[in-house]
Amino acid sequence: MKVLVALKRVVDFNVRVRPTADGLGVETAGVKMSVNPFDENAIEEALRLKEAGKATEIVAVTLGASTSQEGLRHALAMGVDRVIYGEVAAPEALDSLAVAKLLKAVVEAEQPQIVLLGKQAIDDDAGQTAQMLAALLDWPQAVAVSKLTVEGNAATVVREIDGGTETLNIDLPAVISADLRLNDPRFVKLPNLMMAKKKPIGTQDLSGVAAAPSLKTLKVAEPPPRAAGVKVSSVAELVEKLKNEAGVL
């Protein structure tokens, strides 16, 4: 069984993001980038499926600017078998539906039984790509999965939902999106990273896939800052202020 993992390279979660000077986007020049944390959970889960003898080949794919190939190096260092860089004309303008259409073309070429990806990317926070890809493929979907058990041609998944969990049993092939609780991704060791730099990166030309975005970002701005607060000197003063000033107790 082949597993395809889709990953996105995003601004690292420790970076304080700022709008670009023209207010049309987010400043990424000179900013530390990393594989989207939820996508790391997806990679880790795919690797565990292989280690458990359930999967035979793990393939990772990414779209985006040519620098996003660094994310594929990271996936190789984690242990995936093969990586694909999907070449598209205007990667910065893609919306989730466009990404899903492009990934569909990769799925059709690779024919995996499971597509694993993060439940959302921590840059756009849209959380749509997995569901949209499942729709376009007409495959079952399992979103925000915290436990995955593959048995033959089906999988039992535990999904994180508001206030608890939901358990589903779904036929494969399926698209599965990873929640943070799914696993703890392994650390990449330096020798593995060095070896990953020598491995080939496959490419798939996706420039012919019709994937015009329907969303257009007109402005990116910082939200109004929180008003400066006050320091209190004792628990009694704190309780008094919460009761009488803020009115929240």
């Binding site: 919306d95 921590i122 979907q141 979103v143 939902i161 779904i170």
Partner: protein, 312 residues
């Protein structure tokens, strides 16, 4: 025919607040608003849906397999009625997040997640980077599909008189089988929607001290417990308690941060809280820059004192 369709959510006690709030968001288009109720709803939920102010019709898909709707079954139903609508929306809950992207892709339209502001007919403000930035986004699609952060809107009044219409539900997708729902978390409320959140950082020093120190205060306040990424990484609290950009984003009435330094990704996940209270022994801690009330003190002194003060 132009109209707005809102997907309702309810539990045993009736229609959820998020649905009442989203009903007001739905009024932004100045079009008739219909509400879709999925599954074998209790009578209270249907009656409350009919009373939502400004709602024209309540569509009820009364089928057992839609009571815990899978995205596959819900989208099949939406596909069968979508032709009547030019806006389909839901609150940004796990249900809305599961169903609507699948529906949007089947309609070949882009989708807006978690709209904070709606500038009808097709422009929105939404959070990106966990709310560190706000993006103004236009959706060129003819059919507008979106989830909304419901708490941004006031619930509509209960003075409506909508017509109740039964709609036929397509057969279940046999490839996806619902097994169970587990409402975990014991007696404490759910982190993402709790009115009060009590969070601890790495200074709690151990899993035992974490629960022993913060547990009684959380119980006293009826609060959800949260933890920083550092505390989770150190093993003091389970992963599902993690608050922040890489965990759960919260927006409670009161957020208590004990021994929390204020890492960027943590601050991003709490900045929409109404009141932030921070207690930290380090007066330079970043958390004080966003806290409405700060107390420079040892949390192991403050928490028991606060718990006792609140019991009075």
């Amino acid at each position: 025919m132009s109209a707005v369709l809102l997907i309702a959510e309810f539990d045993a006690s009736g229609l959820k607040t998020a649905t009442r709030q989203s009903a007001r968001a739905a009024q932004n288009w100045n079009l008739p608003v219909d509400v879709l109720v999925l599954g074998t709803a209790n009578a209270a939920a249907l009656e409350q849906a009919q009373k939502l102010s400004g709602v024209r019709k309540v569509l009820h898909a009364n089928a057992a397999h839609l009571t815990h709707p899978t995205a596959e079954d819900a989208t099949k139903l939406l596909q069968s009625i979508a032709g009547d609508y030019n806006v389909v929306l839901a609150p940004h809950t796990s249900q809305g997040k599961n169903i609507l992207p699948r529906f949007a892709a089947l309609q070949d339209v882009g989708m807006i997640s978690e709209a904070l502001e709606i500038n009808a007919p097709n422009s929105y403000v939404r959070p990106i980077y966990a709310g560190n930035l706000l993006a103004t986004v236009d959706n060129k699609a003819g059919l507008q599909v979106l989830t909304v952060r419901a708490s941004r809107w006031k619930p509509v009044d209960a003075d409506g008189n909508a017509e109740l219409v039964e709609v036929a539900a397509p057969a279940a997708d046999s490839r996806v089988r619902f097994i169970s729902v587990d409402h975990a978390g014991g007696e404490r409320p759910e982190l993402s929607s709790a009115r009060v959140v009590v969070t601890g950082g790495r200074s709690l020093a151990s899993a035992e001290k974490f629960e022993a120190t913060l547990g009684p205060l959380a119980t006293q306040l009826g609060a959800a417990l949260g933890a920083t990424r550092a505390a989770v990484d150190a093993g003091y609290a389970p992963n599902e308690l993690q608050v922040g950009q890489t965990g759960t984003i919260v927006a409670p009435e009161i957020y208590f941060a004990f021994g929390v330094s204020g890492a960027i990704q943590h601050l991003a996940g709490i900045k929409d809280s109404r009141v932030i209270v921070a207690v930290n022994i380090d007066p330079e801690a970043m958390i004080f820059q966003v806290a409405d009330y700060g107390l420079v003190a040892d949390l192991f002194d403050v928490v028991p004192e606060l718990t006792a003060a609140l019991q009075k």
